[in-house]
Structure formats: C-alpha cells, structure tokens
Amino acid sequence: MRDVIVVGAGGGGAVVAKELAERGLDVLLLEAGPRWAHTEKEWSHYERKANNPASGYFRFGPSDLKKGPWRRDLPQYCYLWQTGGVGGSTVHFFGNYPRAMPGAFAGASGDYDPVRLPLAYTDLIPYYEWVEHTLPVQTAPMGTKEEVFLRGATRMGLPVQTGKDIARDSCRAQQNAILQPAGRAGKAKDPKYPAAKGCTFCGHCLEGCLEPKGAPRNLRAKRSTDASYVPMALTANRWGKGRAAELVADAFVLRVNLLPTTSSGLPLAGGVTWRSTRSGQVTTEEARVVVLAGGCIETPRLWLRSGLPNPNDLVGRGLSDHYPDFVIGRFASYTGSTRGPGSNARADFPSYGSLEVTTLPPALQAYSLAFSDSGMAGLYDNGTGVGAQGADSIGRLVGKRLKRYIQNVDKLLNVLVLTDDDVESQNRVTLSTSSPADEHGAIPRVEVAYRKRSARTQRNREYLASKAVQLLRAAGAREVVRMNIAPVLFHLHSTMRMGASINDSVVDPNGESWFVKRLFVADNSALSNGVGGVNPTLTAQALGTRTAERIFTTYFGGEAWVGRESPVASIDASVTRAVRAAGL
C-alpha cells in the first residue's frame, strides 16, 4: 500500500508529490499523458508540430501522435486548451506568477464575487513565499513589446506597482517563474548552456521550453513543473532526506476506489484503478490518501465516473475561465511581438481583472485574429450586442483584411484580457450522455454559457477591453481590433471548489472532500473562484502546498513546515546534482 497516490502530474499534482516525497512519504504520481524524457528530440519550436489541435504533441491525447486527441463533448463554439503529459498545461504556459487579487479571499471588501477562498489573503502569503522561492519566481526582464506595453500603460496614468501584493490599479513587469537571462541569453541567436543561462527570448513558450540548450532539466528557463517540481519529487532522496516519488506516465485513472464506510458514516478513499494508454493493461493500487489533480475537466469527470458522493450537486459546477478576450494593435514600427517570454508585463485592475501583453508566433497570431463570437468584421456580427469599445473593428478578420493586418507580425501587439469573472452554476463539467464513451469511460461534457454571463462579469470584461484599447492607442497603435473571442478555455478554475461550508463547496478549507475522507483535491479545480482575474498557477500551487501540509499533519503524524523551514530552490546545486545523477 502506498502512502499517497497523486492523480495528475501537472501544475498542482507535482507540487503535492514533491512536498510529500520530501517528507519521506511513499508517493505514486500518475499521469494520463506522456512523459517527455527527451524533449530536445520530442519537442520543437514549430507551431505546426506543437500546437496543431489534432496532431500537436501538446494536444490532450495519448503518447502516440498518430492517434487523435481524447474526445470531449463541447456543445458550443469554444476551444478547450487542455494538455496531457507530465507538467500538464504548465508545459505551454507563460509562467506568469502574480499573487491573487486580495478581494478573492474571505473577509475582503470590494466588488468581488461573493464566492471566496475560505481563508484570509494573509494566511496564504507564507505559502506564496514558499512556492516563489522553490521555483523560483523572479521579476521579468524587458523586451521591445514590454516597453511598448508599459509605455501605453504609463501614458494612461497607471502607476507602477513595486511590490507583489496588488492594492490598486497599476502596471508592472510580471513576476514570472522564468529564470532571468544571464551571459549570452537574450543577446544571441544560438545561445547554449552554460555560456547562456535563463531565458533566451526565443519566443517559443507555447511550444515548450527547451532553453538554454544543453542545460540540465531543472535549469530550463521556464519553470514548468516538468522542469521543477517533478524532478525534485523524483530525486527527493538525493537532494534532501526524503523518499523518491515514483512516476507512472501513460496511466489514465479510471476510478477512485473506496473502502467500506466507517463508523463516522463517511466512506474512505482506498486507492485508484488506472489503464495504461500504451498496453491497455488495468492496474489497481491501494493508498492511505488519494489526491486528485487532473485539472478542472478531468478531476470532476473522474469523480463522477467513480460514482463518488455528490449530495450538493456541486461537483463540476461553477467553471470559471476568466472570460478572456484579445485586443490587438497594429503599429508603424517594430514591437517584437513574436519574441521573448509569453508575457513579461501586466496591468491590474482590482475587482475587474487584468491585462497582459502576449507573445504569439505567426500561426497562433493568425488563429487569434480569426477566432471571435462577433462574426466577421465588415461582414456580420452575430448580433451579440458586444461593442468595439473604441477599437476600429470587432470580429474575425478573414480574406484580405486578415492578410493585411498580419503582414508584419512583429509590428503587432496583443493585449490579453483576463476578466474577474463570477462563479456561475450553469458553467459546468458533467458526464456526456449524448456522446459515446471512450476507452476511459463516459467523456466529459463542458458547458459554458458565454453569452449569458453575470452582469458583473460582462461589465468587467467590457471595462478591461476598453482599457486595452486605450492602452494600445496610448502606446501608439495605428489600428486596433477587438476580437470578442469565443471561450478559449485555458485558465480554468473552481469545478471542485473549496469552501468553508459543506453546503457551498466540494472540498473543505484543507482541500479534503466533505464527503469522502482521505480524498483531497489539489489542482485549479479546488480554487474557489478565478482568484480575481489574474493568472492562477501560483495560487493553486500555494494552496497545493498547504494541502500537502494538511495531509502530512492530519494522516501521517507530521509537523507543518511552511514558515518554519527554508525551502530548497529547484535550481539549487544540490537539485542539479540529483537530477544529473538520476539521469533525468
């Protein structure tokens, strides 16, 4: 019997696995997708190889790229940007690590969603600091596009924020889980480790970070969990006094197994059953504690497919997605839009959400210009009633319009709108009854009523779109288009939300299920809300660290460590030696 089985080696599960392996527990980490052990051969900088929705190595599907992605039931216009594999969606994320808006927490005042994280903001700060040191999180350097973005922001009158905690409308360089450039990084086309360290400004965050070439896995510039928490988990016996976690990839968990109900009246988690996506072999293993971390779609799917209790009907409900939008400016001069990290500058608007500059290589840039719920600019608008907010057009660009707008991709500037959106019951994940099951059972149905968002959500998005247009104009854009994109589901939260009451949540403030003991949730789905409209990974990982601590103290007789010990950074020389010795 294992001490702990963690389902999902993405942004959340890898954190729990590392923290508990460091404490000496026997941890099994299961991942449905592949483990990229030889990324310099398996990944590339080419968008067509990485980002194609059917054959790209980052699609949500089995290791064999000749097989298509796993099917989802999507009954609306949307794009669901899931990723399978060790690292989860952190392999293609931007590494943006802002702390949450304080208004997203219990006890805060202001015009925020009443669904709050069930703890005070200050209670989470020690866990923020633990994660920030472990990865580490650093102030982002500037490229041309960041200079253009911040030029616009400061001309709008936004003050510059200098601390990590968001207190007012402001702009700043991002806090990123990306190593700062050193040596030849950012100064050469062919930087190699060790002459170059940290971010090389290649512009390929969305295709997976390979830089600098030749660096040990734990010294890759972008701190995806496959380069940070997972290597630490697998070598916890080498750099620390822990026990190495075991990782099994291509292992799709079919169900959570329960033990007979105890005298308390609640069932206990007793293990899981998974299927090898390579061989089809089915394996069952027992554990004292099970942690679900498959993400906002797969975690509720697994829960429902396992027939676990759902007495308040909240499993899968309340999907928050930041209701994103794109506003894209065209400039007369070079902006460097295809270069540098995914986003190194941002502007925050408490109780509304945030804006961030976004790097896009040409294919995803073209995609972003041809994806909209407002029809096709100059041709039809779908009657959505959503306005341009001062932009020159709204809707997809097709034909000559598209070709003209993208004729010099490095003279564009993308501003991504991340809305502080409300948790709404109708946005949810269920098991599809209209689509056939796949080899792993009933497939997930993801419903997003994007034209029926709450009044506060719509107000926030329109406000931010207006600010984005103003920013681009102030920065000198000659032309601005607003996309009003249909849902691109990449920031997902709150489908297994944490709460203070058994009546309004799925897991308790420790991350443990109200209805099945010894069963925890430690991914974005446990977030109570969209954390105020900022990038969620840091908050999810801080909460995951806290959940790991609660598991250790509650079920293994251990003591808490955050605030009492100093974390080991994933780039520490001891970890590098351990990673090399383990051949990772």
């Binding site: 054959s55 999507l74 216009y77 500037m142 062919d190």
Partner: protein, 194 residues
C-alpha cells in the same frame, strides 16, 4: 428537404447536440446524401474554404472575387493540412472532412441555388466571398442547444485555416514577415524602471 425542415431538423432533433457527436453527423439523411460524393468534392470544398480565409492568386480565390497577388492558404498547403487535421481530430466513417464539406455545401446551395452549377462540383467553392461569409453567419445563428456541434464547427474552421496557413514556413512566415524559429533572440532590453 426544404430549408425550414432542414433548419428545424438541425436545431431540434438533438442529433447535433455536441462536438463529440460530429462523428454521427453523416447519419442525417441529407448529410449522408452529400457525403456520398467523390473525394474531389471534399478537396474543392476545402480549397474554397481556405481561399475564403486566406486568399491568394489561385483560381479558387479568383472565383470568389477576393484575391491577392501574394500567395494564400492554398499555396501554403493548408487544404491538405486541414483535411489531415479534421480527420484525425475526430476519426469517423465517413471522415470528418466529408461531413464538413457536406455541411458547407448544403448551406451554400441554400444561400445561392446557382452554386450547385458553377465551375466546381463543390457548391461552396462556387460562392462569392460575401456569400461564403453568409454560410458561416447562418451556421453561427443556430442558437438552439441541439445545434452545438455545428456552432463548434463553424466557429473553429476559420481560425484553424488561419493557423494552418501561417504555420507553413515557406508561405505563412513570408506572408507575416516572421523571422523564423530560433533558440534565442537579441531582444533583452534590461529591467523596467518607472
């Protein structure tokens, strides 16, 4: 089948309830009839779609009345890539490309009955640029919950074509003046100070 009947069928049968059910679309009688056509029809339809999103000097672009001197999606090889992507995205019999072509061509004949007798076997490829847009407008206007699969399809096709065109190093990168992939860039400007 009349337009009203076809529309009602699409919206109310529940047959098109979800993107995951696109594989079952060919069981709809009028789609089944349309999907019995030769592979050329599929290719022509995809050519017509690609020319609509990223036109060039090719004959499909000229047929629609919106064309450019610079190469477009057809020169970038987007039709072939589109067929491969669709058919891998949801493996089915007949292939998803055939279903997509059937949907676009069926709508095309509703938008312009003359499109059934044009230069190409595929009615969609015979449409003028604005009428191609009208096909998408109609597909996107199917608001009932049961038409989710068609909205998913119609919504994503233009973006997918744009992606595939501009992912092509020879044509797409040149059209966007992209400098190409690299391990590093000379782009580091220092740190921001207010």
């Amino acid at each position: 089948m009349s337009e009203l009947t076809r529309r009602r069928f699409l919206e109310r049968t529940g047959f098109l309830a979800a993107a995951g059910r696109l594989a079952q679309l060919p069981e709809v009688p009028w789609v089944r009839a349309a999907t019995s056509a030769k592979p050329d029809l599929n290719r022509q339809t995809m050519n017509g779609l690609v020319a609509f999103v990223v036109p060039g000097p090719d004959r499909y672009s000229r047929t629609q009345g919106e064309w450019t001197k610079a190469p477009g999606g057809i020169a970038a090889g987007a039709p072939k890539a589109l067929i491969q992507t669709l058919d891998l995205f949801i493996p089915s019999r007949p292939p998803l490309t055939t279903t997509v072509a059937a949907v676009l061509n069926a709508q095309a004949t509703q938008v312009d009955p003359n499109s059934a007798h044009g230069t190409y076997q595929a009615p969609f490829a015979n449409l003028a640029f604005r009428r191609k847009a009208e096909v998408f407008r109609r597909l996107e206007s199917l608001y009932s919950p049961e038409a989710g699969a068609l909205r998913f399809l119609a919504g994503n096709l233009p973006g997918l074509v744009a992606f595939l065109t501009y992912a092509d190093p020879k044509v797409g990168w040149k059209l966007s003046n992209y400098s190409g992939v690299a391990d590093g860039r000379r782009e580091f400007k220092g740190y921001f100070h207010a």
